[in-house]
Symmetry: none
Subunit: 417 residues, 2 copies
């Protein structure tokens, strides 16, 4: 079984200067891994002709596939396209499909098409054009001397569009790779080491061609099963059979057998019982709402939120009592209960979640250190609360607070609390 | 003027599989940049002997300094140290300072020192030991054949400790480097290609030792000026002088001469006039609020938000009229005006921003396609609106809508509209 190897090359002075973190190469190699292509090296170079020519020569000696991102903008410092053309003794010509795409994008935004933008549709004649429906820089695919060379823009959402719609399907077709199948099971409310000892005997009994990995983040632990084999359907069935064996042990901590985000699992639960959700956020400051509304279709069950950063907003929009704030402070069980019940009433929802905490870096006290977060969930019959102690980092507290609030809602809907 | 060049090499299978994002190389190159060392390439390779030997040979041809991170753990898969020793025909010997450090760390944690941990203190005899006070893996410094080769552990806080306390001071002492200075100017509301043609004559007249780059994202374009020279103060003054020349041309599109985020520029503007801000979000669903509240200290000027996903929330919490929703729909100039004015009133703020649009992927019509977003800003004297047409991608629309709303607020505060 021969491995198909790839080298991922990101181009941009801003990467070398350390002004941005290259996240493209991580995403790309994770996607390649899913179709059985192994990334053997990642390289970042500057917007520099000699560097680009050198890496084209070097990387072709190492890898079957070269994937470039970056350096495709309309300005003078972006030279990837013409340098690749030079490498292949090729010239740039306007590609009609690419031109049509650029024209459409400009028309839809009501801008005039300038010559500099027209030139974005010029690609080497040896390249196959890859349609970038979300931007003006074209994707390119070269099949030369037995090597596949791909060039995409560095803007992450344009690169992802091209990978998903053009590059990955073409690679799957071009190479016949062995099958690698991943299955991810998600758990919540149990730490990595406790989980590991709980399922130890199951893990030890896994067949050698099925591997297990633990991926923890923000109160969740994902279990990733990875199987290798030549018969796709058989492999899939084997992985499913192994997974089935562990579900009873996971119990209430299991929330998705299919790597779904907690927000989506909750969406199903809410829709199933025709219920709606509202939120009232203090320390999470809109992130909880964003986590929910980032999902298409969320307006079917999500009614809205009151982000009550000020005490006035807590009183006027949510009906939190002044005496409660005076006696217990904004970060307290009493306040967060009134916030949740106030949001449920104001937005007329079935359930309402509320958060109030010290996100930091300032504002902590000995009694309520940075990272202290109170959560409440108001439901049809009762309101439940939870206090968590997160970290000292503002953004982590915002994210962990939001995820934990969703975890509380799940427990209430499932009548576990 | 000779540049000192570095290549940053991160080692680890987990990087190649795309399981973690390599943030070390970004941090390292940003620090090198500050002392005038230019990173010419970044490479990530696996925990693989041949790969490590190859890159040692290759990178020494390109760079004056090789900086390795990763592969220094006590387990079998970490082979960096012995492979570097093999490369230099060297052997590993226990270093007494390193052993003392490991012993101290284990004692302070109350653990017994095992043989496997004792071996962590073994380093090649040609290496200078770099003291890692925060972990058990040693740092190493080689000065061979005119090249500096540095090896550090991959754990970010250990690497940072070694860089700050050992590597950077030694590099500054070893090389007498020229200075590299960056200055980033931020613009909003003008596309990359329009901006480029607007400032073309200025760009063409830049002296050869000052370079310009365009860095676009979500409605903003950053202009990065990079200068090279021996006299730091003179170079700084030259870059400032060049920047001064372009400010008038940039006009209202310029929002930061010093690479600040728009949220922070707005925070300054609001605090300066003792003003407060509220928001009312429909399509951006909490992301606008999150963008603001992600910043420490935002509670000084930000009062809160009403996220009115449902029409009921728009009516009950923001006072949007039923007739307006019936006649014009939720995504309309009329509705977004009432949302902004309603939020200003409900939260008693100086300014209020509102968003309403079709985030997608569903819900688009011919008249109002996915990506249509109405924005309004209500201020002390008036309310202004703006319609934007974003993309077909939900998350981009959410982010672009939020950034554009902040841009609208800036214009109002500056009395440009």
């Amino acid at each position: 079984m021969k491995h198909i190897n790839a080298e991922v090359i990101t181009i941009g002075d801003e990467i070398l200067y350390g002004q941005i973190t290259d996240t493209n190469s991580q995403w790309i190699s994770a996607e390649l891994d899913k179709i059985g292509v192994k990334t053997i090296r990642k390289t970042s170079i500057g917007d520099d002709k000699k560097e680009i020519l050198d890496i084209l020569t070097e990387a072709q000696k190492r890898a079957d596939i070269l994937i470039f991102t970056g350096g495709l903008g309309p300005t003078k410092d972006d030279i990837t396209k013409k340098t690749i053309a030079e490498f292949f003794n090729d010239t740039l010509e306007i590609n009609q499909d690419a031109l049509e795409n650029v024209r459409e994008l400009f028309e839809s935004r009501g801008f005039e098409l300038t010559e500099i933008n027209r030139q974005q549709a010029a690609i080497p004649t040896k390249a196959t054009y890859l349609n970038n429906a979300v931007g003006t820089a074209p994707g390119m695919w070269f099949d030369e001397n037995g090597k596949i060379i791909i060039s995409m823009p560095g803007v992450p959402f344009e690169m992802k569009y091209l990978m998903e719609n053009e590059v990955l399907p073409r690679l799957r077709k071009h190479f016949k790779t062995p099958f690698i199948i991943h299955k991810i099971i998600r758990t919540i409310g149990i730490g990595e080491s406790f989980l590991a000892s709980k399922i130890e005997s199951w893990e030890d009994a896994l067949p050698p061609h099925i591997k297990l990995a633990y991926l923890p983040s923000l109160g969740q632990v994902k279990l990733r099963l990875t199987g290798f084999g030549d018969d796709k359907e058989k492999l899939k069935a084997e992985i499913e059979a192994e997974a089935e064996k562990v579900y009873p042990t996971l119990g209430q901590n299991l929330f998705s057998k299919d790597n779904e985000e907690l927000e989506l699992v909750l969406a199903d639960l809410l829709l199933k019982e025709n219920a709606t959700l509202a939120t009232a956020e203090s320390c999470t400051g809109g992130y909880l709402a964003h986590t929910i509304t980032a999902n298409p279709g969320s307006s079917a069950y999500y009614l809205g939120s009151v982000i009550s950063y000020s005490n006035e907003a807590k009183m006027n929009l949510l009906g939190v009592k002044k005496e409660t704030l005076d006696a217990h402070g904004a970060v307290s069980e009493e306040t967060v209960i009134q916030m949740a019940e106030g949001a449920k009433k104001a937005l007329n929802s079935t359930y309402a979640l509320a958060t109030s905490g010290i996100a930091g870096p300032g504002g902590g006290t000995e009694e309520k250190p940075v990272g202290t977060i109170w959560l409440a969930c108001a439901g049809p019959d009762k309101t439940v609360t939870k206090k968590i102690l997160s970290t000292k980092t503002r953004l982590v507290n915002i994210q962990y607070g939001s995820k934990s609030a969703l975890g509380l809602l799940r427990k209430m809907i499932l009548k576990e609390i």
